[in-house]
């Protein structure tokens, strides 16, 4: 039993503060506003309009076969909408998920030319997805890692709006597709996720070495405490107050304190 108590004392010293942070952040996840923390307070849900396959002048799309032959080898060609207009999106190298690295090219369906998402197009895409009162304050091209979206592995446009929650809109710089909105409510929650996941290097992951170490030590802390509690139960320390006074002096050597040896 002495060994159990020693483990409990020293592991509690090591993980104590983090244990408090886990409980506080866990409590926050319980009470937080689950809609607000998505960062979509000013996000307009855009319903895609059906694609017409020729424009007002009756110009048809250039055939996919022609496009595929002209560009770098692709594994898929998709008709996508950017600002309500159709484009071909060529994927040369596909990641398993959208946020993994994807090598893509956007192509004009009528001219067959590559479309570069510039500052102006990026701002327009962001504006279309935004229904808040703010106006655009800054537009910058960013390379990963990006603080707001740590899992993203592609180059993005960050469009910042001037509003009460500092909305940022992220757009994939090669495909023109909206990645997500973020704002101060989401960043506030992200701070607690960072604490809970011990993601102090902002990798967007809870598989870091420090949390693995702390979780193993916490296991020792909790299991030693659990055994201690059971032992206290067997030794009759869990009695209601009227009985406790009586036993106080008798059981002093079993009390979970150093005073037993001191006095």
């Amino acid at each position: 039993m002495r060994f159990i108590k020693l483990i409990h004392k020293w592991t509690s010293l090591f993980v104590g503060i983090q244990l408090l942070l886990w409980l506080v952040s866990g409590f926050y996840f319980n009470i937080m506003d689950h809609d607000k923390v998505r960062g979509n307070q000013f996000r307009e849900q855009i319903k895609p309009a059906p694609v017409l396959y020729s424009n007002i002048n009756n110009t048809p799309f250039i055939d996919p076969k022609t496009i595929l032959a002209e560009f770098e080898k692709s594994q898929s060609l998709k008709i996508v909408l950017v600002l309500d207009k159709p484009y071909y999106l060529l994927t040369h190298q596909a990641g398993l998920y959208h946020h993994f690295y994807n090598k893509q090219t956007l192509v004009n369906v009528y001219s067959g030319e590559e479309v570069i998402i510039d500052k102006k197009i990026a701002s327009n895409i962001a504006n279309q997805s935004y229904n808040g009162p703010g106006t655009i304050q800054s537009v910058t091209l960013q390379k990963p890692p990006i603080e707001d979206i740590p899992k993203e592995k592609n180059i993005v446009w960050q469009i910042n709006f001037k509003d009460n929650v500092n909305t940022s809109v992220y757009i994939n710089a090669s495909s023109g597709q909206l990645i997500k909105h973020s704002d101060d409510d989401k960043r506030f929650a992200d701070f607690f996720f960072m604490l809970h996941f011990m993601d102090y290097a902002s990798e967007g992951s809870f598989n870091n070495w420090q949390i693995i170490l702390f979780s193993i030590i916490t296991l020792w802390l909790v299991l030693s405490g659990f055994i201690w509690t059971i032992e206290l139960g067997f030794k009759g320390h869990y009695k209601f107050s009227f009985a406790m006074n009586k036993n106080k002096n008798l059981d002093i050597k079993n009390l979970p304190v150093s005073h037993a040896t001191k006095k």
């Binding site: 020693l6 004392k9 009470i31 689950h34 405490g225 659990f226 320390h237």
Partner: protein
């Protein structure tokens, strides 16, 4: 009563009721952080082939598609194993057709599903079971992915691939470590109903747990830091 005595009493009594929850939190938490999340998500079960479209094999043009299916939307030209295919949506259903021959491939049959599963699966194991799911999906596959074939492999951790019957795409994958992870998460957030962390049980458990931890830290302070200062020879 002194702070030390109060803390000791509170810690002892709180942990009588919360002890099990702390065991659950630390065991499930350790499981979730120790296993790499990409492994949990079965990313290593599938191969991303990166096969480029062979342009010379395309005989069907976009105009041909629109002529036959005027309401086609979300049109995509992609690769199915090694043949170019068109995928699109019409008002009635999702269609996949061969871009060389024009043959309609959707919905795929069981033979094709097996062929695709073996193509995407990263190892070389035998298939133990195939089932076409059309309604009432199990928890691990979203309803929007139906109809889908579930292909179970006879291997460690019982991996399954789910392949959509219209698109031939692997819509999701599972193995026992992910299935266990989902259970671990539900226990971690003390949710025994809908999988959301905003339940009343967790509210009380975390508030009381916080008191339990604070009182425990007070004890640690007295036991370790104060004792040291007094140069006491107490062991615990």
């Amino acid at each position: 009563m002194t702070l030390l005595k109060t803390s000791r009493k509170l810690h002892k009594w709180l942990m009588l009721f919360l002890g099990i929850q702390f065991v659950i939190w630390s065991v499930t938490g350790a499981y979730m952080v120790i296993f790499d999340i990409d492994y949990i998500h079965g990313d290593s079960l599938v191969t991303q082939h990166q096969t480029p479209i062979d342009v010379n094999k395309i005989n069907i043009s976009l105009a041909d598609i629109i002529k036959k299916y005027p309401d086609a939307q979300n049109i995509e030209l992609a690769v199915l194993i090694d043949s170019p295919v068109y995928r699109f949506k019409t008002e009635q259903k999702n269609i996949m057709l061969n871009a060389s021959s024009g043959e309609v491939l959707s919905p795929i049959n069981e033979v094709m599903a097996v062929k695709l599963a073996k193509h995407y699966y990263s190892a070389d194991d035998d298939i133990s079971e195939i089932e076409l799911l059309t309604d009432n999906p199990p928890l691990e596959v979203s309803k929007r992915h139906l109809p889908a074939y579930r292909i179970n492999f006879d291997a460690f951790a019982r991996p399954s691939l789910y392949i959509n019957a219209y698109s031939g795409i692997v819509v999701t994958k599972r193995h026992e470590f992910w299935r266990l992870f989902d259970w671990m998460f539900r226990f971690h957030i003390a949710d025994y109903q809908d999988g959301e962390p905003d339940n009343l049980l967790l509210f009380w458990l975390s508030i009381l747990g916080l008191f339990g931890a604070i009182t425990g830290l007070v004890l640690t302070y007295y036991r370790v830091i104060k004792n040291k200062r007094k140069r006491s020879n107490a062991i615990y």
